[in-house]
Amino acid sequence: MEKLARAHVLVCGGTGCSSSGSKLIIPALKEKLEARSMGSEVKVVETGCHGLCEMGPLVIVYPEGVFYVRVKPEDVDEIVENHLVKGRVVERLLYKEPATLDTVPSYDEISFYRKQKRYALANCGHINPESLEEYIGADGYEGLGKALSMKPEEVVEEIKASGLRGRGGGGFPTGLKWQFTRSAVNDKKYVICNADEGDPGAFMDRSVLEGDPHRVLEGMAICGYAVGSDEGYIYCRAEYPLAIKRLRNAIAQAEETGLLGRDILGSGFNFTIHIKEGAGAFVCGEETALMASIEGRRGMPRPRPPFPANSGLWGKPTNINNVETFANVPSIMRDGASYFASQGTETSKGTKVFALTGKINNTGLAEVPMGITMREIIYDIGGGIPDGKKFKAVQIGGPSGGCLPEQLLDLSIDYESLIKAGAMMGSGGLVVMDETTCMVDVARYFLNFTQDESCGKCTPCREGTKRMLEILNRICEGKGTEEDIPLLESLAKSIKAGSLCALGQTAPNPVLSTLNFFRDEYEAHIKEHRCPAGACTALVGYVITEACRGCGLCKKVCPVDAISGEVKSVHAIDQETCIKCGACQAKCPFKAINKG
């Protein structure tokens, strides 16, 4: 039998931590442990993402649950010698709270995790994603077992009772969707998992796929049983190579053990899953475009109805849900609908994973009960805004969403309240912006994205987003006119009303919501040719202040020789020549160069 390991060292192998260097830590640890002949009593496990990517690479030592951050291969010696041999915690590698700078030794005490309720992410970072045994040990496939002992109709009812709604953006009740596909009469039906996570700023699906792939397979199999399908597809972005690798591995394990395939758990139910790699088109996140892409065609949406539940992939009834939605299904089946339904608000049940990014101390993934306030997420979990800057807005819902200003920070977050505030849940990307972020530039950024990703099938989206982008470019360059704001609003209205799919229907949202809350910034650009945040390069100039000591560094770094001045006297920038690259400001050791 396997020797009992007294300690487990969990090293995060998520994409965030791997790119910070966690890949080098595992071999270093193993080598050191072997050298100390402790190879069999300490187990080294590569896990999925813990969500606190900012602090990666993360290393957690159990049974104590000590949480080490930003670990380098050079630190491995000290962790083994002091912690694993002598039981002394390596203080200097512990996590420090950004607000108080207190060191926090254990996982559960870190404020980033304390307010979270990890449900869909329960296993992420705690099990080895390449081990079926560890998933089963964490109650994996128990939900499927329970579902198979019920009637398919009862499974649909259970999901309906849980109140689970689509986590990919739309928020459509999942149980109802399943029921539609269940009622469609056909000899062949499909289940599709939408893993084409394309919203810039959202990466929860990637984390689930990389950190707990079996959970998604189990959710899909339960769905297949409930709706009467024997075949599933996962449509995953090709930009997620690690997720695809882990999924392939998980599918192979499940097939080998009989958890996928024929006669699953002796129930007579058959289910297989294939992976389709996306080819880089944001619009393929839209369900009809996604199915066109699986069929090998250009991924363009088509009008609905017919809905996929009646006529989907290859014309057959098809149920599509996104990764996070499927990830919630196994535990709903296992623990029953009532536990899930006890979390969250009246209309939005359960938990939601948010991706915290931008100008925030703890970037990463946070899973919280619906109904929590934005302030709790940004300040209590996210640790607030870095460098003492002032919060300006948080963008939620990606290119389809909107910005919430400071006065809405205490809004309780659910599907409905966000729509009312002019934003939307979307996939749950939260990008925090501080006083140095220009809201017009943010709107332009998203329009640039949607305009680029518009598939071109329908005119309002293809032409409309282009015209809106031109206007926004004009405003950012200080060439806007007073008619531009009403023109933007009227274009927005037409695009929302006339576009074929959600991409176009929601594309104007970032503009409308910034116009709603930050109209003064637009007006400053247009009327005063001024960017209040100092972000629009055409509208800022750099000036050298009296703090200049004449060291000449700026002169050297300037790519266009716009700076002149004698050594040890105050230098000056020729505004005509300056290309506003900001290199001088970054280089100045005396902070003598300001944007003005």
Binding site: T15, G16, S18, S19, S20, L52, C53, E54, G56, E197, G198, D199, P200, G201, A202, F203, R206, A238, E239, Y240, P241, K276, E277, G278, A279, G280, A281, F282, S293, I294, E295, G296, R297, R298, G299, M300, W314, A355, T357, G358, K359, T363, G364, Q395, G398, G429, V431, M433, T437, V442, Y445, F446, F449, E453, C455, C581, G582, A586
Partner: protein
């Protein structure tokens, strides 16, 4: 492109076609594999795929030009993907992109260095927002970038 496409590469492509050709919806996987083999999708390859699969060339071309992943021109040995996602955008991705282009001496619309060492692309989001701004070279992700770090990163790839 003066280079002759190799016979043996077409033989490998035929294996892929034999392997995938029989089931439905395989055009995109076939094109993905073909691009792995040839590095890009030259006209002759598209014609070959069209003939073997019976999918009209116009349709093959339509699919190739729809998806950002497919390329009609030869590409560098190392592919740099500079992330322009929201989180990267607000943390200075634009400056990183400029720095890469200037390190590589790329001007105007050029994306590939003449020696085919690098191709520079932008990507909407690689889901690594916690480390913004980020870039990927081939399958490796580099995060928490500042312009000064770029040259050192690029020097690692020959």
């Amino acid at each position: 492109m003066g280079d002759k496409l190799a016979e043996k590469d077409f033989a490998r492509l035929d294996e892929v076609l034999a392997d995938l050709g029989s089931s439905k919806g395989t055009l995109i996987p076939v094109l993905q594999k073909a691009q792995d083999i040839f590095g890009y999708l030259p006209r002759d390859v598209l014609v070959h795929i069209s003939r073997k699969t019976g999918v009209p060339l116009s349709q093959v071309f339509g699919v190739v030009t729809f998806y950002a992943q497919f390329h009609l021109e030869p590409r560098g040995r190392n592919i740099i993907r500079s992330c322009q996602g929201t989180a990267c955008h607000v943390r200075g991705a634009k400056g990183i992109l400029q720095e890469i282009a200037s390190c590589l001496g790329l001007e105007g619309d050029a994306v590939t260095t003449p020696d085919l060492r690098f191709t520079l692309e932008t990507v909407a989001c690689i889901g690594c927002c916690g480390l913004a701004p980020v870039l990927m070279v081939n399958d490796e992700t580099h995060g928490r970038l500042v312009p000064d770090k770029i040259k050192g990163i690029l020097d690692q790839y020959k």
